[in-house]
Every structure is written in structure tokens, then in C-alpha cells.
Symmetry: none
Subunit: 219 residues, 2 copies
DNA sequence: CCGGAGCATGACGGTTGCGTGACGATGCCC
DNA sequence: GGGCATCGTCACGCAACCGTCATGCTCCGG
């Protein structure tokens, strides 16, 4: 929980702990982001009005770096703020004062959607593959693998959803930000990626193709 | 959208259409559920106070039958109602009067989580069968079963409605998106599926045919 | 016991989906 | 400006898959 008002933060932390959550508190976005990076939380509660980096920017960074659930808790009830926060990547938005039961229920609702989903981490470990999105490096059995930018982004996207099938469409839109385009493009880059991270290209163990559906990175 | 007040419903439908959504309106839960069953929507907006089946029950049924996004839009702002609706399976809850921009932003936020197709979330367990739509894999007694795309989609559809009979017509329209076609096609694929998930093809235990009605996946 | 409707199954051609190697365009560094 | 790395497009070939058909079986009512 990132909230600069001591009284509010303490009471919310206590109340959430009563509800069965394990909570860490931070007073600034910088502090909260660092804490989250060090040990990623399942969900992050963010106040909008913060000293330094403000809530919107904080949400944006959280969304860019991981897949944690993001819930904004703010005193501002202006539609414009709500829309902006959701657009920035927040999963839900509550107006203070919040009923703890509602907060808890909304957290559960939003995380239910997310179940089976990706675990937010600074470094994604999939078998003997380590992906460090921050550092921009990938290690296979501890050894650095030289990837191109596109290959790297592709692998990150697959890694963030390890175990899930991603369609070419999804990959195109998330890695290339093409809303439509030639799906064969994905094939080609998957092929190139395989040459670097698979031992036997003809029998992929890590980057598997699911015929008719797409590709997935094996957990 | 299920909303009994004509004025509110019409204005919301128009506003959402302006935002780029395709919307169908119903005035009762029964009507809305039937419409959704006939042609499932990506998301369902539900009012709480409805004649006949009320909003809570409606949410519960929607959640049980499918994976559509469910957003409750109600005049009631009581924490108890909000918690109850979310617990029943709603993904979000807005208090009337709603700002259309906020509704639209919340819809997008909630659907962002699981964009990318007709594949439902979660893992369906039916006896010793595990179906993981997201991972595109099926396990029988823990062991992976190699299915083709069509077999997989078919099994997902049956799994989502485990225990209930689905007619060939329904399967054709949901799996193949054929509104009419040769019903024998379903038979063939059911047969192929059986060869992979049944121990004794001549005496199916899991994928049962209900003579004259269709097929069902035994719970 | 018989006939018909409903269902199962095996075989077969056409199609689709995927992997790969080659090629030109582009941008970057020296 | 030349050399290099990377990117996107294309065409080709193989294998898997799909849908159709024909045949034969099973269940049920008369």
C-alpha cells in the first residue's frame, strides 16, 4: 500500500490484515515501487496524491513492469481522474473514505479475474531460463543469451504469461503494437528465438507451438 | 444490458454505442439470461433491482454458466449490496447515476485482463480430466493428452457446461460458429475426442451421448 | 422380430497451419 | 560512406488436420 497519510495508511493496513491479507506500507511512490521491485506483491494499493512521483505515474510504472493487481484508492471522485487512472492501467478505483469490506471484496473480485495468471516478478524464471526485463538480459542455464530487441520483447511477453497460450494476434498487438498484420511475422521471430534458446530446434521444449492456437512458454 | 427502467436503459445503450460498443438491451433477468445464452455477450451489465429474478441471482447464474464480464450498475450504494454482488461473481459495481466515460473505462479495465478470445479462464476439472483453456492443454489422470484445435475447443465447450446436455446445434454454433451445418460433423469429432480421452470407446464414461438430444461431459 | 432413425467409425482428398531459407530494406556504428 | 545487424516479406514444402461420405452398428417402437 502506497499512501502518504500516516493515519489512513495505518488504519487501512490494520484493517486489511484483519481481513487476512499480508500488507506492506510505503509513504511514497519511489519507496513503494522499490519495495515492489525487491519483493513483488500480488496487489498494489495506490493513493493518487503523493509527494514526488504521483499516483498516475506510479500506476503506469507498475503496469509496465509487471502484472500485479493495481487498485487506486483516492479522495478524488472526479470522473476524469477515475478514467485517467483506469486508462493508466489500474484494475479498480475506490473513492475515500472506503469501507474495508468493500475494498476487500473488490480486491478479491479483481484477483479472481487474474487467477492462474502471471505472477509479477522482477525476474521471470521458467525452467532453466531466466528473463530479466529490467536488465534486458536473458540467461539460459546461467549463461547470457544475446537476443535482438524484438526477440527479447517477444520472450518477455511469453514469459509474463508462462504456461498460457498466446495467439499470434495477441503477440502482434502486444509486442509489435500492430492491431492487424501478417501473423507469419510472429512465426519468423519465434523461429529465430528458438535457434537461440532451444537445444533441438526440431523438438522445442521451452517455446512450444500449440497448433491452431498460438505459442506458449512451457513452465 | 439488463435494466428494467426504459429511460435509463435507452440512454445507456445509446451512450455505450457512441463509445463503440455493440449493445443489446433486456428488461428482465429472464429475458437477458436467455438472450445471453442464445448469443453470449462479452460483457453483461446488470441492474440489481429487477422484477422476477433479481440482480444477485442473475449474476450468480451468469457466473456459473460462463466467463462473461459482469458489471453491476445499481442505485443502491450500500456496502453490503456491493460486497454481496462482488461475492456473487460480479467483476465490478457502479452506483447510479453513472458517468458513461467511467463505465466505459471500467469495462475496458476489466476486460483488459482477459482479452484475446473465446477461450475461458480457469481450469475445469471433471472427474479425472483437467482442462486448462488458457494453457491449451488437457490432462487425463495428470497425463497430457494431445488434442487438435477442434477437439480442444469442443472439449472446452462441453467442460464449461459439464453435466448438462448440449445439442449438436449448440455445439455447431459455439465451436464452429456455424449457424447451420451438417450435424454429423459433431459426431465425427466427438468420436475422435473419445479415442483420446476414453479408456473403452465402446462404453464412454466421460463423454456420453444422450440419444436424441446431444452429448454431455459427465461430472 | 423387424425396420427405421440415430449414432459410430474408417477411409480419403483438399486444405490449412507451420517452419524455414532467401532477399531487400532499414538503421546504426565505425 | 561502407559494413553489419536486424527486421519484415515472401515463397515453398511438409505434415497435420478437417470435413465429407459410405458403411455398419445400436437402440427403440411397433
Amino acid at each position: 500500500m502506497i499512501e502518504d497519510d500516516d493515519r489512513i495508511r495505518r488504519s487501512l493496513v490494520l484493517a486489511l490484515e484483519d481481513e487476512g491479507y499480508a500488507v506492506r506500507g510505503s509513504t511514497t511512490a519511489e519507496e513503494g515501487l522499490a519495495a515492489h521491485r525487491a519483493e513483488p506483491a500480488d496487489a498494489v494499493l495506490v493513493d493518487l496524491m503523493l509527494p514526488g512521483i504521483d499516483g498516475f505515474e506510479c500506476v503506469r510504472q507498475l503496469r509496465r513492469d509487471g502484472d500485479a493487481t493495481i487498485v487506486v484508492v483516492s479522495a478524488r471522485d472526479d470522473t476524469h481522474d477515475i478514467v485517467a487512472a483506469l486508462e493508466a492501467g489500474a484494475d479498480d478505483y475506490l473513492v475515500k473514505p472506503v469501507a474495508i469490506k468493500e475494498l476487500s471484496a473488490r480486491l478479491r473480485a479483481v484477483r479472481r479475474r487474474n487467477r492462474g495468471g502471471p505472477i509479477a516478478t522482477g525476474t521471470i524464471v521458467v525452467g532453466d531460463l531466466e528473463i530479466r526485463p529490467e536488465a534486458g538480459e536473458v540467461r539460459l542455464r546461467g549463461e547470457l543469451v544475446a537476443l535482438t530487441r524484438t526477440e527479447f520483447l517477444l520472450l518477455c511477453e511469453l514469459g509474463q504469461h508462462a504456461g498460457q497460450v498466446l495467439s499470434r494476434q495477441q503477440l502482434l498487438s502486444r509486442v509489435w503494437e500492430y492491431e492487424f498484420g501478417d501473423e507469419r511475422l510472429v512465426d519468423v521471430h519465434v523461429g529465430r528465438l528458438r535457434q537461440k534458446i532451444e537445444d533441438d530446434t526440431t523438438a522445442p521444449r521451452r517455446l512450444v507451438t500449440v497448433r491452431g492456437l498460438g505459442y506458449k512458454l512451457q513452465r
